[in-house]
C-alpha cells in the first residue's frame, strides 16, 4: 500500500486488513481520543499542536513507522524465506591468529551439537558470531551462511527475527502472570492466533519434563527451578521464532534432559549446547572443541562413545532413583536394582 492509500484508511479498517497492526496502534497514545473509524488523513487534521506535543506525535514519523511495520510484518508472516534448513560456519582464526581446525561446519534442523572447552575459551564468541551472522567482520573472522547462501541482513538488524534463542541456568521468569496468561502473551507477541491448543501442548510437554506437575493457573514466579526450566524449554521449542537454540548447560536436578533435547529437535530446532557434563556432551551428534578462542576440532560422536554414554545413563538413572528414594524418606541399601 502506498502512503496515499494508507491515508484514506481508518485505523479500524487497517486493523481489519492487517490484524497485526493492533499492537502498533496500541502504542499510539494520541489515537485514543479519536474515532478509530475515521480515515487517517482526517485524524491528522484534527490533532492540534498541543495534543501533538503532548503525545510527541509527528505525522511524518508516524507514517514512516507505520509503513515500516506493515512491510516487515508482511515479510515475516507471508514468506518461507526465513526457514533455516542449513546453517554453515566457515572457519576464521583463534586468538593467536591461527586457522581454525575445520573446513566447514554444518548444522541442520533436528540435530544436536555440543560445545566443549574451558571457561573463557571462546564459547560465547562462537554463539555471538552465529547470532550476529558474522561475515568475516568479527574478531574471529568467521563467516556464517544460511541455507548455503549469504544471509539476509534482516537476521542481523530486525527486532522481530532473531536467529538464536537462548536457554541458560541463570534465567528466571520475572513477570507476574499465570502460566496460561504468560504463554498467551508470548503467542500474541508472535502474532499466533488461536493459540489455545498450542498453549496446552506446551504445558503438557513441560509437565512431562519436570517431575512435579503444575497447572495452567500457577503463577510462573511460583514454579520450582525444574518446572521453570521445563516450561522455558517447552515454550522455546514451540513458540520461539528462532530456528537455533543455544543451551548453556541443563542442570541435572528436576528435569528429564534427554526428553528436553528430544522436544527441541522434534520441533525442527538446530540445538547447540555448551556443557561440561559428559552425558550431555555425548548426547549430541557432534561436538565442537574450543581452545584459545577458536574451534580446535569437530568430533562426530562415535559408536564407542555412544556405548560409553549408555553406561553413564545407567549411573545417572541410579542417581536419580536414589534422589527420589531419599526425598520420600527411604533407607538405602548398598545394592540397588535399577
Amino acid at each position: 500500500m502506498t502512503q496515499r492509500e494508507i491515508l484514506q484508511h481508518s485505523p479500524q479498517s487497517l486493523i481489519e486488513k492487517y490484524p497485526f497492526l493492533s499492537s502498533f496502534f496500541e502504542g499510539q497514545h494520541w489515537m485514543t481520543k479519536f474515532n478509530p473509524n475515521q480515515p487517517l488523513a482526517e485524524l491528522f487534521s484534527l490533532i492540534d499542536e498541543e495534543q501533538a506535543e503532548d503525545h510527541a506525535f509527528d505525522m511524518h514519523d508516524f507514517l514512516d513507522q507505520l509503513m515500516d511495520f506493515i512491510a516487515e510484518m508482511q515479510a515475516f508472516i507471508g514468506k518461507e524465506s526465513f526457514v533455516v534448513n542449513k546453517l554453515t560456519i566457515l572457519p576464521g582464526t583463534n586468538k593467536s591468529g591461527e586457522n581454525e581446525g575445520f573446513e566447514k561446519l554444518e548444522f541442520e534442523p533436528r540435530t544436536i551439537t555440543s560445545i566443549v572447552g574451558p571457561t573463557g575459551s571462546g564459547k560465547s564468541r562462537l554463539l555471538a558470531d552465529i547470532e550476529w551472522v558474522a561475515q568475516g567482520d568479527t574478531p574471529t573472522k568467521r563467516k556464517i551462511l544460511i541455507n548455503e547462501e549469504l544471509p539476509d541482513n534482516a537476521w542481523r538488524f530486525s527486532g522481530n527475527r532473531k536467529l538464536v534463542a537462548q536457554l541458560s541456568q541463570n534465567m528466571n521468569f520475572v513477570m507476574d502472570l499465570s502460566v496460561k496468561d504468560f504463554l498467551e502473551l508470548h503467542a500474541k507477541s508472535r502474532m499466533v492466533t488461536d493459540s489455545g491448543a498450542l498453549i496446552n501442548k506446551i504445558i503438557s510437554y513441560a509437565n512431562e519434563l519436570a517431575g512435579e506437575k503444575f497447572s495452567p493457573d500457577t503463577a510462573i514466579t511460583a514454579l520450582s527451578g525444574g518446572q521453570s526450566r521445563a516450561l522455558m524449554i517447552a515454550d522455546t521449542a514451540l513458540l520461539s521464532q528462532s530456528p537455533v537454540v543455544l543451551i548453556d548447560e541443563i542442570e541435572n536436578a528436576g528435569i528429564d534432559r534427554k526428553k528436553a533435547l528430544e522436544i527441541l529437535t522434534g520441533e525442527d530446532k538446530i540445538v547447540l549446547m555448551a556443557t561440561h557434563d559428559p552425558l550431555l556432551a555425548l548426547m549430541a551428534d557432534q561436538r565442537i572443541v574450543i581452545k584459545k578462542g577458536g574451534i580446535h576440532s569437530v568430533i562426530k560422536t562415535s559408536a564407542e562413545e555412544r556405548a560409553l554414554m549408555a553406561e553413564l545413563e545407567k549411573a545417572d538413572l541410579k542417581q536419580q532413583q536414589i534422589r527420589t528414594a531419599l526425598r520420600s524418606g527411604a533407607v538405602l541399601q548398598y545394592k540397588m536394582n535399577v
Partner: protein, 231 residues
Amino acid sequence: MNLVTISGPPSSGKTAVILKAAENLKNRGLKVGAVKFDCLHTDDDLAYEKAGIPVKKGLSGSLCPDHYFVSNIEAVTAWGLEENFDVLVSESAGLCNRCSPYIKEIKAVCVIDNLSGINTPRKIGPMLRMADIVVITKGDIVSQAEREVFAAGVYAVNPGAVIMHVNGLTGQGAYELSTLLFDENLKIDTLKGKKLRFSMPSALCSYCLGETRIGESYQMGNVRKIDIKNN
C-alpha cells in the same frame, strides 16, 4: 569525530553497555571520549576514568536535565573535537520518559532493560520511538519468552530501529554494537544549526520559578489540571 547520544531509563545499563562497546572501539585504534549528563549525582565518571576514557560530567541540579543537555551539548562537542576523539559518547538518563535528547543526523541509541516491565516500551516516548538503535539489556536473567515479548513490544513502538541484545556484564553483543557506533560518513565538526529530533516538554509555571506553596492561587503560567470528573 562521531557524536553518539545514548539515553535510557535510570539503571538500565547505559554505562556498562558504553564501556563494553568503547573497549571494542579502542581495540580498533579509535579514540573514545565520554560525557555523562545526570541530575543530582553520578559516579559513572569514575567508571569511565578507570577504563581510560576521558570524561566530562554535567549535573543539571534543579534544572530540567534535558534542557540542560541541549544547552551544553555544543560546548561538550567542541571539547571532544579539541581532544581529537574519533567517537564522543554522550550519556544521559531519560528521567521523565517524555524526552529524547536526540539530534537530527546524530546517531541515537536508547538502552532499555528486560526487567523494566512489559508495558515499559509503550510508556517511554520519543526516547525510544526516535532512536536509531535500541539496545536491550539484562537478557541473561530473564526467560527467552520474556525477551521475545519485550523485543516485540519495542518493535511495535519503533519498527525502524535496529534492536540488539547486549549484556553489560559479559559484554556479549557489545562488539556488534560498537561496529554500528563509528561511521566515517557521519563525522561532524560542529553542532551549530542542527536540530533536536523532537521538542522538549514546555513548562513555565510558578513552581519552575521556585514557588513551594500548594494551592490554586499560587499556580501561574503553564498549568494543567487532571479532569477528575471525566477521568
